[in-house]
């Protein structure tokens, strides 16, 4: 769950993942808020890995 840094809207990471503008090499890294479009910074992978070590999330 991500809280938009601009408007405070809470949304799932998957809701904010879009094809991106194409300006960033290697694709869009940010997560755009579905309500206001603001580009949010996702949690760094290392932190995510550390968290998933304690919580196992299954995506179906």
């Amino acid at each position: 769950m991500i809280r938009c840094s601009f408007c405070g809207h809470e949304f799932e990471e998957s809701e904010g993942t879009r094809p991106g503008c194409g300006a960033c090499a290697g694709g869009c890294h940010g997560i755009h808020c579905p309500r206001c479009g603001y580009k949010n910074i996702p949690e760094p992978e290392t932190l995510k890995r550390l968290k998933s070590f304690f919580t196992k999330t299954t995506k179906e």
Binding site: M1, R3, S5, F6, C7, G8, H9, E10, E12, S14, E15, G20, C21, G22, A23, C24, A25, G26, H29, G30, H32, C36, G37, Y38, K39, I41, P42, E43, P44, L47, F54, T55, K56, T57, T58, K59, E60
Partner: protein
């Protein structure tokens, strides 16, 4: 077979608790606090809405916990709300935890009433109590529990407060469905008549279904039609009759009645402070959105954040250290000597350590000049972002943006433009009208420099007294004039702008560092290959003399601007990337090729100059050929026209040497 039976029995023993409530009330935090180590996230069947499920052991019993999407009422509008209601209808949770925000108890309690009258087993969680108490509010939740007839628990789930009480309430919860909600005599009569006509078996109470039918809920109508069969015609006729009698006023009447009931319920439950207690955050928030205090505050923020921190410290001290001392003083001479001795081929020497060499130019620009500037800019930006200043800025500039035919919402792409105008051009699609999108795209292409370009220009101009003031004046004038002109010429009205302001808070060091680190990582990984590529292209241009021809072609233009021939290099760089162009300007100045006047003219023209290739392609993608080519032509004309006029003015007045 016996295994299947055992499995079914196990599934039956697992009880369900569903979390419901408005978005942003802390449902997910509570979900994470309740669930164990295994969480499943899946799309709800037939939709793209994700629902999280986890398991929890509460008082020794296994429970399945379901985190439903945000919903505002049982009468649904969005797909998320429909999914949340479907879960309540189809999965029949044993306990429904209605989570609401203590600061907005009055607004959110209406949904509790709907859940109670639907006959659902509701436990009310009054969350975010800590923030509410900080505002000076106090609550008599025991009184509210008595009035509602359901368990009411105060919590601050983000602080782990109330979690144990919620667990106990879930475990101990019986089938008490709350005290009945009493509406006006007229509405009660309608509900009684309509409910009496329904004979089917339903999860929600008939009274609740009757209300939803009267609100014109199509899904509920279909459900009732299916359950009632032939009897549905009479139900539908009754709904039509009541709707005809009430005309358009039913929704309004119902919300007014619910509001009145909520007001009665909350009498003596919430105690307001005698004098509204303002936190430093709300005080600062108030100051930030009022023009009288907000504009000076904005200038202070820009002065200390951009000018002093990014401009003086980042682009001055840090660049001097990295570019001046490390690269120019030590690394470049050392690597040039080393490779010249080791590599016999002049063309390869030129490619690596020549005038436009990958190491001596590309790496030096990327690491020595751009990196310290964007790092300080990203720290400044992350502090503003984490503190919650950006939405206040949107409200503050709303009035100014109205002159440009846009609303304060356009501040989002404008702010993002200081990071990267290409991405900001894409974000203009979130603006409500085509007119707003075109104006925002134009202003982004014209007068919004990217962070690195801004940093370098601030650093360059702050060395010449008065130059920065002239640059800021030119940029503001261009933005305002072109904005007003666009607002007048493009037909249409500026849309209304309203947004819920998230609270202001002290920026957290961990958040600021994480955001800065991530942004720097993206930026650096992105620019380094591009800078290397640009160096290769420039090297190719140099050895084939194409670059020289290009510079010769631009020489008359440079002359018209009063700039030396070599300044064309910065403009060519700028078309690759804006920051690369600014770094080129930095190079020219450090070599002593530009005086104060020329530097100012070059900086103004380059900032207003056409966007980089990526931004131009994005303009085409978002707005089409016609608009993007028109913007391209217009921006080039304004940039060189302004540069020409500024040069004439500075020569005539002998300002800036």
């Amino acid at each position: 077979m016996s295994e299947t039976v055992a499995q079914t029995e196990t599934e039956q023993q697992v009880r369900r608790v569903a979390l419901v409530g408005n978005p942003n009330v802390g449902k997910s935090v509570l979900f994470n606090a309740l669930t164990g180590s295994y969480v499943t996230v899946s799309n709800y069947p037939g939709t793209s809405v994700e629902v999280s499920r986890g398991t929890a052991t509460i008082e020794g019993q296994p429970w399945q916990v379901i985190d439903t999407p945000g919903m505002y009422a049982l009468h649904t509008i969005t797909e998320e709300e429909r999914v949340a209601r479907e879960i309540l209808l189809n999965e029949r949770p044993d306990v429904v935890l209605h989570v609401l925000d203590a600061r907005n108890l009055g607004r959110m309690l209406a949904m509790t009433l709907q859940l109670i009258e639907a006959g659902l087993p509701v436990v009310l969680v009054v969350n975010i109590l800590d923030e509410a108490e900080r505002m000076g509010l106090s609550f008599d939740l025991a009184l509210l529990q008595q009035r509602l007839g359901i368990p009411v628990i105060g919590a601050a789930t983000a602080r782990k407060r109330g979690i144990e009480e919620i667990r106990q309430a879930v475990a101990a919860f019986g089938q008490s469905c709350g005290l009945p909600v009493q509406y006006s005599r007229l509405l009660e009569r309608d509900l009684a008549e309509l409910s009496a006509r329904m004979q089917g078996r339903y999860v929600l109470s008939r009274r609740s279904l009757a209300l939803l039918l009267l609100q014109g809920d199509e899904e509920v109508s279909a459900l009732v039609a299916q359950q009632e069969g032939d009897g549905y015609a009479a139900v539908a006729e009754q709904v039509r009759r009541i709707a005809f009698e009430r005309r358009e006023s039913f929704h309004l009447d119902l919300s007014m009645e619910r509001k009145e009931i909520v007001n009665r319920l909350l009498r003596d439950v919430i105690k307001m402070p005698d004098k509204r207690r303002e936190t430093w955050g709300s005080r600062l928030s108030h100051l930030a959105v009022q023009p009288l205090t907000g504009i000076p505050l904005l200038f202070l923020t820009l002065y200390f954040g951009l000018y002093k921190f990014v401009g003086s410290f980042g682009a001055g001290t840090l660049v001097d250290l990295l570019e001046g001392k490390l690269f120019e003083g030590f690394f470049n001479p050392w690597i040039t000597k080393l490779l010249t001795n080791w590599i016999p081929w002049w063309w390869l020497q030129e490619l690596l350590v020549g005038e436009y060499g990958i190491i001596t130019l590309g790496l030096r620009y990327a690491v020595g000049i751009i990196l310290p500037i964007v790092t300080t800019f990203f720290i400044f930006f992350s502090i503003l972002e984490d503190g919650g200043y950006l939405p206040r800025l949107a409200l503050l500039v709303d009035r100014v943006f109205k002159w440009f035919g846009m609303s304060g919402r356009a501040v989002i792409p404008m702010v993002l433009g200081f990071g990267c105008s290409t991405m900001a051009t894409m974000v203009t699609r979130t603006l409500e009208t085509v007119r707003e999108r075109v104006i925002a795209t134009l202003l982004l292409a014209l007068a919004i420099p990217c962070s690195a370009q801004l940093g370098v220009i601030l650093a360059l101009l702050s060395r010449t007294p008065g130059a920065l003031l002239v640059w800021v004046g030119c940029m503001t004038l261009s933005l305002v004039l072109v904005g007003i002109l666009a607002g007048k010429l493009l037909p249409g009205e500026a849309p209304m702008f309203y947004m819920e302001l998230p609270p202001m808070r002290l920026p957290q060091a961990s958040n600021v560092l994480t955001k800065t680190y991530t942004r720097m990582q993206w930026y650096f990984l992105e620019i380094l290959p591009l800078f290397v590529l640009a160096s290769v292209l420039l090297w190719l241009g140099k050895i084939t003399n194409v670059f020289g021809t290009l510079i010769s072609m631009m020489t008359p233009l440079m002359n018209a601007l009063g700039l030396p021939r070599d300044a064309a290099v910065a403009f060519i760089f700028g078309f690759f990337r804006r920051d690369y162009g600014a770094a080129g300007l930095y190079d020219l100045q450090t070599k002593g090729l530009l005086d104060g006047r020329q530097l100012t003219v070059a900086a103004v023209t380059l900032t207003l100059f056409i966007p980089c290739v990526a931004q131009f392609l994005m303009m085409y993608k978002e707005r089409g050929w016609k608009v993007s080519l028109s913007i391209f032509g217009f921006v080039s004309l304004v940039a060189f026209g302004s540069g020409f006029l500024l040069n004439q003015l500075l020569v005539a007045t002998r300002l800036l040497g």
